[in-house]
């Protein structure tokens, strides 16, 4: 026998289920209960930088929209600072909750474009949004990133995108720019399956 390490084990994940909105976005479930729902406004009223709209659809392995998904966004501000790490604008939370239209499955949200963030070993990461997806049928939340299609030079040097061996798969993390809107579809499975991370 040896000494016990006495670490605790992380509580196991369970699916958020089809009614995740009751807990995390009750307005979408069809009722009004809280003074203020959290996660409605990612960047707040004072955020500097380029305003953006992001839209897209999450698809399952048959190409059907995942209409009951809930996506959480975590991002730096336009200067590349995360709240808690550097100075950010008053009211900049950097975090929000996004749910699609229940009929079409199309999601859309507004924010500001994040700046580049210092990564490991002083290698700068291209601007990106961190996304976390939960839904019925997803046993443990799926983590991915959205990069910006108009940041080609920065994306080419990004240390995380560089880890993806197949360049085609790298493109699953890069949103397409049309006007002021970035289009970003997420494929949980099958053709064009999005790269998900074990963080």
């Amino acid at each position: 026998m040896v000494q016990s390490l006495n670490y605790l084990k992380e509580t196991a994940s369970q699916t958020a289920g089809p009614y995740v909105h009751i807990g995390l976005a009750p307005g979408a479930a069809g009722f009004d209960i809280y003074r203020e729902e959290l996660g409605r406004d990612i960047a707040g009223p004072n955020a500097g930088g380029q305003e953006i709209t992001v839209t897209g659809t999450v698809f399952d392995g048959t190409g059907a929209p995942v209409k009951d998904v809930l996506i959480e966004v975590w991002q730096a501000n336009a200067q590349g600072s995360y709240p808690g790490m550097g100075a950010v604008e008053e009211g900049f939370r950097g975090w929000g909750r996004v749910i699609p239209d229940f009929d079409s499955g199309v999601y859309s949200f507004r924010s500001v474009k994040p700046g580049p963030v210092m990564g490991r070993n002083t290698r700068q990461m291209a601007p990106h949004l961190n996304l976390w997806l939960v839904a019925r049928g997803i046993n443990i939340g799926l983590s991915t990133r959205m990069y910006f299609g108009d940041e080609e030079a920065a994306n080419a040097k990004d240390p995380v995108l560089s880890l993806i061996e197949n360049p085609e798969r790298r493109n699953t993390l890069i949103a397409r720019k049309e006007g002021d809107t970035y289009h970003f579809d997420i494929h949980l499975q099958g053709d064009g399956e999005t790269v998900f991370f074990d963080l």
Binding site: Y82, G119, L142, I164, F196
Partner: protein, 240 residues
Amino acid sequence: MTTGELYQRDREWHPAALTPDYKTSVLRSPRNALLSLQNSASELTGPTFGEADIDPIDNDLIRNYAQTGDPIGERIILHGRVLDENARPVPNTLVEIWQANAGGRYRHKKDSYLAPIDPNFGGCGRTLTDAEGRYVFRTVKPGAYPWRNWVNNWRPAHIHVSVFGTAFAQRLITQLYFEGDPLIAHCPILKSIPDQRAIDQLIAALDLNATVPLDSIAYKFDIVLRGARSTFFESRPEGN
């Protein structure tokens, strides 16, 4: 922000993405391997919440949606602590819960189960942990309900729990179950977890010491988030 990098998540402890007995997972599970990523600021930072974000009544599901009186059901206190894998408390972190009512019906426009909506029960609550990582909710015990998976599947009584921690990579959603529920042994969603010890960790214990006599019974449920390394020796700046 955590002080150090997080311990690797034990993927053999969590359910796999693909668990065919839980049928919906079949088409919603990635087929490619997850890309392992060492932590950067994007994973080690995370949103914070404060008293200004929530109201004191938000953790009282018996009162937070009451219209004409108390909701129907077995009154329970649900309490516990949020800890990390180093057994250190996680203070000031947001804990959110949601659940069916005592009849097993959710207040959701997509739920059509024949059990009635309770006019006095919303079914969600939220609170912040205190300095020692403690949280408490008051609610009614949810009912079991049938769901479409096999022809005859019943969910054990459960409450969904969402927790943040300090790093976005600690983010966790799970479900808590109740000691003694015979449906626990038959649930394909619970059985998506391969290790019985991990299942046992999701079962809240009857806690007679925390009951309110002649009022509410109590269950205790501790939640463990990923722990962070102490930085005894920093990686070389250009290392790995």
